[in-house]
């Protein structure tokens, strides 16, 4: 008696020669990726430094002849738009750890952003119950630690849940934070919010403050530095025992556990790291704002960040960066453009256009704009499970 088991993991057929513009585009991105991978380490280092150098010059993009005016239309406050991009990119990077690496769907990511922001506000604002009025910098570490603690508090009981169930719990978590803020008029102050929030320290040689009210450029650079640090941290984790464990959990949680991976521990870490990066985003956000209230932390925010991760390419650092940048840039780009039919600002149609764009991308490139190779193959596997040929 013998069983003839079908091999459960099929070997894929040889890739067909690319056809059409989409195929040629894929071939191009594939060879670009290979070229980048084959560079020596110092080549990639120089490449990365150049990329971030160029990113730091983004505030001056409007001065590029011909292209500049296309990037910055009249309606955009370009510098603050860039700053908003940085914290969306930060959040996308953080959420990418939870969703992209560990494979847990978190719909309440804004909760951690809110905790980071509220922590700093409570320590620094004159409106706070505590009347501590610390400087921004002194409150920053607390912003990290407390959002991380909340990540663990939320993660500990809920990480036994998977998939949709986890998504619902996290969704509830973010709403709890917002509703708590609304219903504690003296503690988190709801709509009234916190005023006179301090900015980050430092002044130029002529005595003017670096982080002032008028110029958003320094905030953008601050955000960029935070992004670089987060990228380094996430990359280090990804290419280690930790990243392997996350990947194994994502691919087959039970098999991973039987191979000795402490699944709960690593899922909790992914959650905590995601929470910390979310808190970092909140901390930087507050440093810029000067005023904040509970209306910032709506559900839509979480959805946008998740959309950024999925749009850019889940499980992939460049993807998260691109997604986070696009998600802020595209709506802003629509400002000041008059729509030909009703002659209103196209910005009012941003959600319609944005939704359309996401639908189009998901139809033609469901794995995201810059996909993680592994995620792309997993998606194909799943598509085959849903619709067997």
């Amino acid at each position: 008696m013998t069983t003839i088991d079908k091999p459960p993991v099929e070997t894929p057929t040889a890739p067909a020669t690319p056809q059409g513009p989409l195929g040629r585009f894929r071939q191009f991105t594939g060879s670009a990726r290979r070229w980048w991978k084959d560079l020596p380490w110092w080549g990639r280092l120089i490449g990365n430094v150049v990329i971030f150098g160029l990113a730091a010059l983004l505030p001056y993009a409007g001065q590029i002849p011909l292209i500049g005016p296309q990037i910055i239309t009249t309606g955009i406050d370009w510098n603050s738009s860039l700053f908003v991009m940085t914290y969306y990119v930060l959040l996308a990077l953080g959420l990418n750890v939870v969703v992209g690496y560990a494979g847990m769907l978190d719909l309440g990511y804004v909760g951690f952003f809110a905790i980071g922001a509220y922590t700093v506000a409570l320590f620094t604002s004159s409106d706070s119950l505590f009347h501590m009025q610390w400087s921004w910098l002194a409150a920053v570490p607390f912003g990290f630690v407390i959002s991380m603690i909340f990540g663990v508090i939320l993660g500990w009981p809920t990480l036994r849940l998977r998939g949709d169930y986890l998504a619902i719990v996290t969704l509830g978590f973010a709403e709890i934070i917002r509703i708590t803020a609304n219903s504690t008029p003296n503690f988190l102050r709801g709509d009234r919010g916190f005023g006179s929030l301090p900015h980050p320290p430092g002044s130029w040689s002529d005595g003017t403050k670096i982080f002032g009210v008028r110029d958003a450029k320094p905030y953008f650079w601050l955000g960029l530095v935070a992004i670089v640090l987060v990228i380094l941290a996430v990359r280090n984790l990804d290419r280690s025992r930790v990243g392997r464990s996350w990947l194994a959990i994502r691919e087959d949680e039970e098999a991973a556990e039987i191979m000795g991976v402490r699944t709960v521990k690593y899922k909790l870490w992914a959650f905590a790291i995601g929470a910390l990066v979310g808190g970092l985003g909140g901390v930087i956000f507050v440093g810029y704002q000067g005023f904040m209230n509970s209306s910032t932390f709506v559900l839509q925010f979480s959805i946008l960040v998740l959309a950024a991760v999925v749009l850019g390419g889940s499980g992939n650092i460049p993807g998260a960066i691109l997604g986070g940048a696009l998600i802020t840039y595209i709506p802003d780009r629509l400002r000041g453009i008059s729509d030909p039919i009703t002659h209103t600002d196209l910005y009012q149609w941003r959600f319609v256009l944005f939704g359309l764009l996401i639908i189009i991308v998901m139809i033609f490139r469901p794995q995201g704009l810059i996909p993680s190779r592994r995620r792309a193959m997993e998606l194909k596997d799943r598509a085959r499970e849903v619709a067997p040929q």
Binding site: N236, L247, E254, R374
Partner: protein, 297 residues
Amino acid sequence: MSEPHIESLQWEDAANTGRVDAPAGTGPAIGPPTPHDPVDPNALLQIDNVTLRFGGVVALDDVSFSLRRGEIFGLIGPNGAGKTTCFNAMTGVYRPTFGQILFNGAPISGRKKHEITRMGIARTFQNIRLFPEMTALENVMVGVDAHHHTSVVGALFRLPRHWREEREGRERAMALLEFVGIGHRANDTARNLAYGEQRRLEIARALGTNPTLLCLDEPAAGFNPAEKDSLLALIRRIRDEGVTILLIEHDMRLVMGVCDRIVVLEFGRKIAEGAPAVVRQDPKVIAAYLGVPADAA
């Protein structure tokens, strides 16, 4: 059975009925592991009167046997005999309704799966469960990681231990891939390996956890005779490295060729135990496999 054994049985029972408030130290199942089987001090894994029920279905019925260090032990039986159930109980996937399983004298029921792996039990899966998008090398490294200690902070800041363990892990994983004969596929993703290579990769990944007991769940399923022969040679080589092997098969010929001792299960009960030559002659085993002739009943 001796008195302490019965007590420990009761404790297992209490734990299964949801009484979590039992004071520590009431049963010998807690506390330092005591040598349990007076008959067989060589036992590595000891299955003591294990019964496993799913609702009304009795999947395992009072099964007892033990594995000795350094042997290749076969667990066989017709389809649905409870082989895989028994296997899952040993690796912590299911918890026995009654009875207990001792590994190196320590009970394993109630422990988490990754803890059981760290104790030294590794397994492969009947239906291959690799991490399909990881390379062959990475798959094995996940197994090797089971005994590594790099913390998240250590990985974050690239502390010396991270580098050391990464290098050791990669070397050991590579050596294991060579050992099972697929070293040349180290950098291919698991999904791109041929079926036989995937089975071998599962064995390499399990060996990565540095087990004292390796459980193979139908490793030859879907193999042709030549592939089966080379697999048997591999199993013998693993045993020669000092790893005890538990082999689940329902192909009698295959098991007879390699096992030192065999237990035969049928309908969740043990019907025979002993050396292959003895088991092969056992009328109950013959009946289980070939059916009982009408005039013999």
